[in-house]
């Protein structure tokens, strides 16, 4: 058994990380904190998950979120999508394995993956609205958020949601407030089967290896760890029975990366765009220096007068 989640400290505890530990800050140039803290990770073992939604309930409770009571929509996935008040969501997929013709009920806990190279942060125009700590946690700082929704466009996993109430972006924080005082994220603490484990990224990767070996022994020959390199790896990882087909797990991207469109938008466009604008302005100034003003001459006025007959009046 993986060691169980620790109980909360009784005495007040100094936060283990904070502003001094940032390695990225949206729309800001900072010197990444050094040395880096040990990278943390949450490991979601889909093969152990029973879809009980304790994680969802714990998330709502810990973060004091008020999700609406919806309706039944022909699936156990409730609410039907992530919302500003649902940072995490169990997504249920009924998948018939074409190789065995057996039904598999794939249950994936969706939520922020805490990418090493976070697309949301890259897209964010508001200085300090999205930060990444040196332990890998990507956090939204709501007082700096302007609600533009660029993070939604930057995210390769379709995670952030903008609140209609305060027009700010919300997503899983990896319970940075809990982790800062040595606690596991609320979802991991609540998980009854340790389908969600938490620790250092190295520990989680190693733990996953054991799980993958077990799954392979049970006939899941493509079992594997989902830690996509396209985003530099993630700080939320999945153990999947069918790691060769992540898309069957309610559309988990096969090879997620920050969209090239976003890269162009936040990269070359920014520089080339201002280049063009600058060029246009400079061209004007230069032209004026070289060509001088285009003035109307007295002759022109005379011609006009002549044409209109003003000279005769």
């Amino acid at each position: 058994m993986f060691p169980p989640a620790p109980n909360p400290p009784v005495a007040p505890t100094q936060a283990k990380f904070g502003d001094k530990d940032l390695i990225r800050r949206s729309a800001s140039t900072i010197t990444p904190a050094s040395p880096r803290q040990t990278e943390v990770a949450k490991l979601i073992d889909v093969s152990k998950c029973i879809g009980c939604k304790a994680c969802q309930a714990a998330c709502l409770e810990w973060n004091n979120l008020h999700e609406e009571i919806g309706t039944f929509n022909g699936t156990y996935t409730n609410p039907p999508d992530l919302t500003p008040a649902s940072f995490t969501l169990m997504r249920f997929t009924e998948w018939v394995n074409p190789e065995t013709d057996n039904l598999e009920w794939l249950i994936r806990k969706d939520g922020c993956m805490h990418c090493e190279d976070p697309g949301c942060l890259k897209a964010c125009p508001a200085p300090g609205a999205i930060v990444q700590y040196s332990n890998g946690i990507v956090d939204f700082v709501h007082e700096n958020c302007i609600g533009c929704g660029y993070c939604i466009k930057g995210c390769p996993f379709n995670i952030p949601r903008i609140s209609k109430v305060d027009n700010k972006a919300y997503k899983c924080t990896l319970c940075s407030d809990r982790v800062a005082v040595g606690q596991w994220p609320a979802c991991a603490k609540a998980c009854p089967t340790q389908a969600i484990a938490f620790g250092t990224k190295a520990e989680m990767t190693k733990w996953a290896e054991g799980r993958i070996t077990d799954l392979k022994s049970r006939g899941y020959k493509n079992a594997g760890l989902y830690d996509p390199p396209g985003v530099g790896g993630t700080h939320v990882m999945y153990v999947l029975q069918h790691a060769d087909k992540p898309e069957i797990y309610a559309g988990l991207p096969n090879n997620p990366r920050i969209s090239p469109v976003v890269e162009i938008w936040k990269g070359v466009t920014k520089y080339v765009g201002f280049g063009f604008i600058g060029l246009a302005a400079v061209a004007g100034v230069l032209h004026h220096l070289v060509a001088g003003a285009n003035r109307v001459s007295a002759e022109d006025e005379a011609n006009a007068e002549k044409l209109t007959g003003s000279d005769r009046s």
Binding site: K48, C52, L60, E104, R211
Partner: protein, 813 residues
């Protein structure tokens, strides 16, 4: 549970059938994932639906609801035919070698002695041949055709894989695959655990469902061993405590039974209860019955219970019927014979079958008292909630009194979990508003009733006036005071017979365990099986030492496990006849040459020689029973009976409808759909969902978010056939009522082929009602039939028949 939740980690094969542990017991299910992860255990799920448990299973086989006995008898037949039997165990620890009376036979679904008029058996032939020495006769060679083993072999022989598939709808190859996986566990070094719950109990033959698996487990040698056992997963956090403490109409604490009206005195009462051993050297623990009973009476009536008045035997009620179970209670209510009803911590309008009948019955009461922390449908049965509760308040004269009570998290006390652990807990918050603890409320009722009797007298004041009430604050006894009383204490000094100067027991001290109980009135004990839980050493239930020497999963210093802090029942069976553990890697107890030793408390006397005393000490045989004698009303061997409402006739006994000995009230029989009724062609079942706890959590916002609205589950095939869209509205109706629900057309339910006929399944979760935070909806009990298990009257919620059609949904106001 014979074992404990933590012990499940020791298993090699988990069979979840008649339950859905991942869905309904997610916290305990961690021990299944633990067994899978660390032991490489396999998980098999057999269920009509592909459940959340099936989602993490290694193998899933569908089975039609209500056909479990056919399936399991088929597995037993497979094991016998393929020599998948733990022979040493069967020969030494079961009654396989016992000879059965010659008059006992089985034919066409019925055993000897059936009386169709009474719906009951004369069970006199269902017993052993008794030899001249007064003991049961045995044949250790198993050659005698009248020995239990040969009768069993014959009995299950009709349950061939083809017949099983024909009855259950399980494809033959899947059935055989499950047989193969289970059969492997006949090895002494491989164990299987059975995890079941209401999927087996809520049938008109629920007890026999469980018994069939217990027999299979005995044949495989899996009872009393680590990672084995029959593990009933209890649904409420303290429902195990409820049965332990005897909150049934016919029980008193510790599984002692109330007297019947044919037992006018203590001697007659005791004559059928203190079983004499049926084999030499056996403990037959019920021989101590009188000690438990007298000590209970002393706890109840203190000095007023004396040897002279047979320890106040007359002050206990005597039963005129087998039981006043819930179904009978509501029948009596409906007949106007029961006029006041106290409803403490439950919600019968949602929880019992046939809501229309329940509402009618409640409307005939003069007084209904509700003690509950929550607003319940029962408390509001008289209120009109449109289609969800079409009551007419003007026509209901029942006076309803709601007494708000505290919730578990606001109380101190012990909860008994499925593994029989009494875990003490402390309040996490203060009760809101006027809420009072159940103890306070009941104390007030008791004290005020007593005052009335003192003032006004009454027909029979003795039991009320003589009830002991020695609490520091009579208005509200503390949980510790009550727990100490249940553990028991010494009433008067008992001298050591060998040295009269010494005291064996000293008056006023807490008892160390039920071993010291006496039948002379010198000890008092509220519940003998809890004795040892609150001793002179303190509150054993409050222990929180989670060390586990040997990594056995026993956790013996965590809380208290009844009986006697024993973690695995029948644990002597974990070793062979010579006291050597079956599996060296999974040792539990062993004979060290002089005594039994190991990781658990032996259930036989530590010095009893291995070859002498059998492990099943509660049976006068000392062994377990493959042949149940007269203990089960349907018969000594399990037989497949169809549910009372079934889409097909019984393939093995076409003339037998339902369980032939189940009690059915006259009016209710008229409300059953005919067998294979074209009006109600679909096989329905009801069940729970992880997101909710019964009818409580719909009062909670978060739970209501996670599963907001009533729905029913059907196969994609049936949806297509009936023009039902996924997520659209449907109407579902049985002969008793009609509901509107959202439809979930799912791949997790598939049509089955039963007896050559396609049977569609309709799944109905139970969690919605007309009060609470979630969307208003119907309870599944609007549809379910009013019939219970033949032995213990658990209602048949799991198998009934309905019809279904697409609907436009409720009219929008």
């Amino acid at each position: 549970m014979t074992n404990s939740w933590t012990d499940i980690k020791n298993t090699d094969l988990v069979v979840i059938m008649g339950g859905n542990a991942a869905e309904a017991h997610p916290c305990g299910f961690k021990w299944v994932t633990e067994a899978k992860a660390t032991r490489g255990a396999k998980l098999v799920v057999v269920d009509p639906r592909f459940t959340r448990s099936a989602a993490v299973a290694d193998y899933y086989a569908p089975v039609r609801q209500g056909s479990d006995i056919a399936f399991l008898n088929g597995v037993i037949n497979y094991c016998i035919q393929n020599n998948k039997v733990q022979w040493e165990y069967v020969k030494n620890f079961t009654n396989a070698n016992y000879l059965v009376k010659d008059g006992f036979t089985y034919q066409d679904g019925l055993f000897t002695g059936y009386d169709a008029e009474k719906r009951d058996y004369n069970r006199s032939t269902w017993d052993y041949q008794i030899g001249p020495d007064g003991y049961a006769m045995v044949d250790d060679t198993l050659q005698n055709p009248r020995c239990v083993w040969n009768l069993l072999k014959e009995h299950v022989s009709i349950y061939t894989p083809d017949m099983v598939s024909r009855i259950t709808g399980t494809p033959k190859d899947k059935f055989l695959k499950v047989c193969e996986m289970i059969g492997e566990c006949s090895s002494p070094t491989k164990t299987m655990t059975s995890m079941y719950a209401l999927g087996w109990t809520q049938h008109s033959k629920g007890s026999q469902n469980i018994r069939t698996m217990a027999m299979l487990q005995l044949i495989l040698g899996n009872i009393g061993v680590r990672g084995g056992g029959m593990n009933a997963l209890r649904g409420h956090s303290n429902i195990q405590g409820l049965t332990d403490i005897g909150l049934m109409s016919n029980l008193i604490p510790g599984y002692l039974t109330l007297a019947t009206e044919r037992e006018p005195d203590l001697a007659t009462y005791m004559s059928t209860r203190g079983f004499k051993p049926l084999r030499p050297n056996q403990m037959s623990y019920w021989q101590n019955y009188k000690k438990f009973f007298v000590s209970f009476q002393k706890a109840m009536f203190g000095p007023a219970a004396t040897a002279e008045n047979s320890f106040a035997y007359d002050w206990l009620p005597k039963m005129d019927v087998p039981s006043y179970d819930i179904l009978r209670a509501f029948e009596l209510m409906k007949q106007g014979k029961m006029t006041a009803y106290f409803c403490q911590g439950f919600n019968p309008l949602q929880a019992f079958p046939n809501k229309a009948k329940l509402a009618e019955a409640l409307g005939k009461l003069k007084l209904l008292v509700i003690m509950d922390p929550l607003e319940t449908e029962t408390a509001r049965f008289w209120e009109n909630h449109g289609i969800y509760n079409e009551a007419d308040p003007a026509k209901i004269q029942t006076e309803v009194i709601q007494l708000p009570s505290t919730c578990f998290a606001e109380d101190e006390g012990a909860l008994v979990n499925s593994g029989r652990w009494l875990q003490w807990h402390w309040p996490g918050g203060s009760p809101p508003g006027e809420a009072k603890s159940d103890v306070w409320i009941m104390s007030q009722i008791t004290l005020r009733l007593r005052a009335l009797y003192q003032k006004e007298g009454g027909a029979f004041p003795d039991p009320i006036l003589n009830l002991t009430w020695n609490y520091k604050d009579p208005n509200e006894p503390t949980p510790s005071e009550l727990a100490k009383e249940m553990n028991g204490y010494v009433v008067s000094d008992v001298a050591d017979p060998n040295d009269p100067t010494k005291k064996l027991l000293e008056a006023g001290k807490q008892l160390s365990g039920f071993g010291v109980l006496r039948d002379d009135g010198s000890t008092a004990c509220g519940n003998w099986i809890y004795s040892g839980s609150f001793t002179e050493a303190g509150n054993m239930m409050a222990r929180r030492d989670n060390s586990d020497p040997g990594d056995t999963g026993a956790y013996s210093n965590w809380s208290f496990s009844w009986p006697a802090n024993r973690r695995i029942l029948y644990n002597r069976a974990s070793a062979d006849i010579n006291g050597k553990p079956w599996d060296d890697t999974r040792k539990l107890l062993w004979w060290d040459g002089a005594k039994w030793t190991g990781y658990d408390i032996p259930d036989i006397a530590p010095a009893s020689k291995p070859q002498d005393v059998g492990p099943f000490i509660m049976n006068p045989e000392g062994v377990s029973r493959l042949f149940a004698r007269g203990m089960m009303r349907e018969g000594p061997f399990p037989v497949h009976y169809e549910p009372f409402e079934s889409p097909v006739a019984n393939a093995i006994a076409p003339k037998v409808r339902g369980n032939p000995v189940a009690r059915v009230f006259k009016d209710d029989f008229a409300q059953f759909a005919e067998v294979a009724s074209p009006d109600f062609p679909y096989a329905a079942t009801s069940y729970r969902l992880t997101e909710h706890f019964h009818y409580w959590t719909k009062n909670n916002h978060v739970n209501s978010v996670l599963q907001p609205e009533f729905f029913v589950e059907i196969s994609e095939e049936l949806a297509k056939e009936k023009g039902i869209t996924n997520g659209g509205w449907v109407r579902v109706w049985s002969k008793r009522g009609s509901v509107l629900a959202k439809a979930y057309a799912t791949k997790r339910i598939r049509p089955m082929t039963v007896d050559g006929k396609t049977v569609h399944i309709v799944g109905i979760p139970i969690h919605w009602g007309f009060v609470g935070a979630a969307k208003k909806g119907f309870g599944a009990n609007v549809l379910t039939p009013f019939v219970g298990d033949a032995n213990i009257e658990t209602p048949e919620y799991k198998a009934f028949c309905v019809n279904i059609e697409a609907s436009t949904g409720p009219a929008v106001a």
